[in-house]
């Protein structure tokens, strides 16, 4: 399976994501730059975390308007899988590829800690490596991860099982509505999540709960 990672100035978990895709998938992903208007023929496009353009406007707002994001949207429309993590999630929301918004954390502080996640929907291309309702460990590191949607949108995404990950066991670190940590598009091929599964994939990370996501995605599931 081929993958590509979107590189934008200010992203800083790109190396972590490339390492995870390479270690688990067995081959390094292609990379695409902010000004690229075409994305190579891949099965998965990943937008990693960081602070694209410094997050000096609303998080992800500048990135969503760069040429490369038009190319991402075209690929998504054709059914290519797209995953945005942290800033990548914020960018997908700003690009209109996912429903909802991410506000400043309720504490108003940046937060980096390990949380528990419930796999609320294991029936997706991204989460098939997990069992329904499985509780996993996963780190978060963000300033703006407080998921919000209006009542109608919230009812719709809950009703359509578009909520894929939820903060579990009282570990919601940011005030997200319904403990939402990750959502998927109605087409089922675009996923955005705040936590960082790429930072929990090997013994050195103190756990491997993030691995199943990549294994499921990359077709490496045991």
């Amino acid at each position: 399976m081929k993958s590509a990672v979107v590189l934008l100035p200010g992203l800083n978990r790109d190396r972590d994501m490339i390492a995870a895709l390479t270690k688990i998938g067995g081959q390094a992903p292609a990379t695409v730059w902010q000004t690229d208007t075409e994305i190579p023929d891949v099965d998965l496009i990943v937008i990693p975390g960081g602070f694209s353009y410094g997050d000096y406007l609303r998080c992800g707002a500048i990135a969503a308007r760069m040429p490369v994001m038009r190319a991402v949207a075209e690929k998504a429309a054709k059914g290519v899988m797209v995953m945005g993590v942290c800033n990548g999630f914020q960018i997908l929301l700003e690009a209109g590829l996912l429903p909802g918004a991410l506000m400043r954390n309720a504490s108003l502080n940046f937060v980096c800690r390990e949380v528990k996640l419930e796999v609320a929907n294991a029936n997706t291309a991204f989460t098939r490596g997990y069992t329904p309702g499985q509780i996993i460990r996963c780190p978060v590191a963000h300033h703006d991860g407080n998921f919000f949607a209006d009542a109608e949108t919230l009812a719709r995404i809950e009703g359509e099982s578009q909520v894929v990950f939820r903060y579990a066991d009282g570990t919601n670190p940011n005030g997200s509505l319904n403990d939402i940590a990750g959502v998927i598009s109605d087409g089922g091929n675009v996923l955005g999540l705040m936590p960082h599964p790429e930072n929990l994939i090997e013994a050195a990370h103190g756990g491997t709960d993030g691995r199943a996501l990549f294994e499921g995605l990359l077709g490496k599931a045991a």
């Binding site: 100035p9 978990r13 960081g50 980096c112 800690r113 590191a141 930072n199």
Partner: protein
């Protein structure tokens, strides 16, 4: 407003530039005429305490700075130490105290920016950061504001830049009420054959300006950092710079890309006194002159004068000397990252620093003398006063005292702080804050890791600067050792009051002597550092605070030790000097927190014992015999045991030793470690006749039971330990 270059030089103007009359006379003697206004600014920038170390240089020279692994000692942007396999760790610690007190968010943020630049200027990708923070007493009206701003600033910059914070310190004391301390440490990894230096070589080569544009921010910042504060401090706010971590991240990537292309001959970041210091340094080190044309400097404000451009401390800027044939390639890399790239001058063979602006020569100075002939003082100093002897210390309820210490401002959990820092980015963090040392895996290597720790006990230094200096080095070395790392080298950040006062100068001299002696005894050379003097407000100096940042090497991180108890039913072993478990209560946390007293000598450091005990513990860890390890420091045995229990959720039962439980459990005697071993391996604790290796208890259960005191559940310990900081910050 524009500051012109033809402002007449008056005594007041000289004084307002922080130059003493004899220093001005030296300028006159050196150049044989009255300096221009811009030249006066350049001299004040180069000759202030911050850039010239004029009060401390004589003493800094006495520190050990070399060793078999040292590739570069002090004098460059950062120290460089060989870690084998063709790789080096590049690191330094630097203060941003004065700016952080005036504007805590931006002061701390730009402190991070500066230290990160120091590291990647040398060709290293930053892999770890630490911050040693010291604030006034918690009840002081400014303290909360400073804590909140400094922590947010450190996080705001470091998180966006993308470096994990793996360690640090936070302490409170009334003596920092008027001067907080923000000491930022950064370390990076580089290949030993691709280290970059500031020394220029070759005549007629382009001097290139890279990064962000120049504005009026920070004009005179280095001079401010070398002055005492008084009530007019609010007026100094415009001299604090504003950080832009996004530009710095782009600058990092662009610099590393450019270095890999082979185009860079010399590189120097623009820190204090920006363009002035960086250009002079590159020329003076390379025995070359530098000619700058300020009309080519990218600016973001209109009508800037030569004076302002030469003294601007705008952030995220670099100066380089490039191979002319690769100019185009270099420019393309910087344009790709959206950064400015401008050829602003050239190297010359006349050893002059010549600056042109709008067709006029605004400075023409001898470049070597600007840097090398800065004044150096042998300031008078007096022997520090001996502390008052320790009075009798009453016995305490050990359980109550332990809970009180764990919930005190200085010993409580710093989770509220470090959870605002990204501790995990880069995916190599093996130990995050909360243990003895932060540990980061060496990317691309199967088993190697680096350990980092930052330490000093300013109360010890106040009572006895010499022993305190020794202790800071020993504790840092111990913290690294307790992970199983071999300590390699250190950086020192010496924060003191006004050196023109002989008693302050005496503290500085004694602390440096103590640091030097400890570094020599422990094979722990100082490879970089920074001195921050004049940390005084209205005549009240800070506690002497020589912060030591150390780096250690772990050959195989799968054998690394952590502080948490590994399992129940293991044997708890105290390793230390022969004799009592502990007896030294002078300057202890117990004395301060429980009795509100601060007398007595600090615990003496026996360096031969430190070496022996450390080498013994490291070997136990490397042999896989020690299942957990922790050094003993503030709060002594009781606090160390509690920390091991809290980190694991496993309790322990520990015997009692003698009648003096206060001293046994809370004494801060040095050179001690706790390790745990399984029952099967207990026999493998080979005896070292010079050390006391004592079985003092066993792990297990969910409470900590110390001697005759009541058992305390680990949950209760955690509640006390975790509660203080969030409650204090109102969260």
């Amino acid at each position: 407003m524009t500051i012109r270059n033809d402002i007449p030089i008056t005594d007041d103007l000289i004084a307002s530039h922080g130059l003493k009359p004899d220093e001005y006379q030296r300028i006159l003697d050196l150049i044989g005429r009255e300096p221009t206004f811009t030249e006066l600014g350049i001299f004040s920038a180069m000759w202030n305490e911050h850039c010239s170390y004029k009060s401390s240089r004589k003493w800094l020279r006495t520190l050990p700075t070399s060793g078999p692994r040292v590739i570069q000692g002090p004098g460059e942007n950062a120290g460089v130490v060989d870690i084998g396999d063709g790789q080096a760790v590049v690191f330094k610690m630097e203060s941003h105290n004065h700016p952080s007190y005036i504007e805590p968010y931006q002061g701390a943020a730009t402190g991070m920016g500066g230290i990160l630049r120091d590291v990647f200027t040398m060709g290293a990708r930053p892999i770890a950061a630490m911050n040693a923070l010291r604030f006034g007493e918690p009840d002081h009206p400014k303290t909360r504001h400073l804590v909140s701003g400094v922590v947010a600033g450190v996080g705001g910059y470091g998180n966006s830049f993308g470096v994990p914070t793996v360690g640090g310190e936070v302490q409170f004391d009334a003596r920092y009420n008027g001067n907080c301390l923000v000491n930022a440490f950064a370390a990076g990894l580089a290949d030993t054959d691709a280290i970059f230096y500031s020394k220029a070589s070759g005549v007629g080569l382009p001097v290139v300006y890279l990064g962000a544009k120049t504005g009026r921010d920070g004009v005179g910042g280095a001079t401010m950092a070398s002055a005492e504060f008084d009530e007019s401090i609010e007026e100094k706010r415009p001299t604090v710079q504003v950080g832009d971590p996004f530009t710095e991240k782009c600058l990092l990537e662009a610099c590393l890309e450019l270095m890999a292309s082979g185009a860079v001959i010399a590189i120097q970041d623009m820190g204090a006194a920006g363009l002035t210091c960086s250009a002079v340094e590159m020329g003076a080190k390379g025995d070359l002159g530098i000619r700058l044309d300020l009309d080519r400097v990218p600016v973001r404000e209109q009508h800037m004068s030569a004076y302002e451009m030469m003294l601007s401390e705008s952030q995220e800027r670099m100066l380089m000397v490039l191979r002319p044939e690769q100019e185009e390639e270099a420019e393309a890399i910087f344009r790709k990252w959206g950064l400015d790239f401008a050829i602003v001058g050239e190297t010359t063979d006349d050893l002059r620093f010549r600056v042109f602006h709008q067709g006029e020569e605004v400075a023409n100075l001898p470049i070597k003398e600007l840097g090398d002939e800065a004044p150096e003082y042998d300031r008078p100093w007096v022997e520090p006063k001996a502390p008052a002897p320790l009075g009798p210390v009453p016995q305490v309820d050990v359980a109550d005292a332990l809970l009180k210490l764990l919930g005190s401002p200085d010993l409580s959990s710093r989770r509220w702080v470090w959870e605002q820092y990204d501790t995990l980015i880069q995916g190599n963090s093996l130990q995050i804050p909360g243990g003895d040392a932060g540990v980061a895996r060496v990317e691309g290597h199967e088993t190697k890791a680096l350990a980092f720790s930052s330490d000093v006990n300013p109360r010890y230094c106040e009572a006895d600067a010499y022993e305190g200096g020794k202790q800071a080095v020993a504790e840092c070395w111990r913290n690294l050792t307790a992970t199983g790392a071999l300590p390699l080298a250190a950086t020192d950040n010496l924060n003191f009051g006004n050196p023109e006062r002989p008693e302050i100068m005496g503290q500085l001299v004694h602390a440096i002597k103590g640091i030097g002696e400890a570094c020599r005894a422990l094979d722990f050379p100082i490879v970089s550092g920074n001195v921050s003097l004049y940390n005084e407000t209205s005549g009240q100096g800070i506690l002497p605070t020589p912060t030591i940042g150390g780096v250690g090497l772990i050959d195989d991180w799968s054998k690394m030790a952590r502080i948490g108890f590994a399992a129940a039913d293991e044997i708890v072993v105290l390793i230390g000097p022969k004799g009592a478990w502990g007896w030294h209560l002078g300057q202890s946390a117990l004395l301060r927190e429980v009795f509100g007293r601060s007398e007595g000598a600090p615990p003496p450091v026996d360096l031969a014992h430190e070496k022996r005990a450390g080498d013994y513990v490291r070997q136990l860890i490397r042999d896989g015999v020690a299942t957990a390890a922790h050094d003993l420091s503030d709060g002594g045995l009781a606090v160390a045991l509690a920390e091991m229990a809290m980190a694991s959720g496993i309790g322990a039962t520990v015997d009692t030793w003698g009648a003096d439980e206060a001293a046994a459990f809370f004494g801060e005697d040095q050179g001690r470690y706790l390790v745990t071993v399984s029952r099967e391996n207990f026999g493998k604790l080979h005896g070292d006749p010079a050390l006391a290796v004592s079985q003092i208890g066993t792990t297990g259960g969910s409470s900590l039971k110390l001697g005759n005191a009541r058992a305390i559940s680990v949950e209760e310990l955690k509640a006390a330990h975790e509660g203080w900081f969030p409650a204090y910050m109102g969260q």
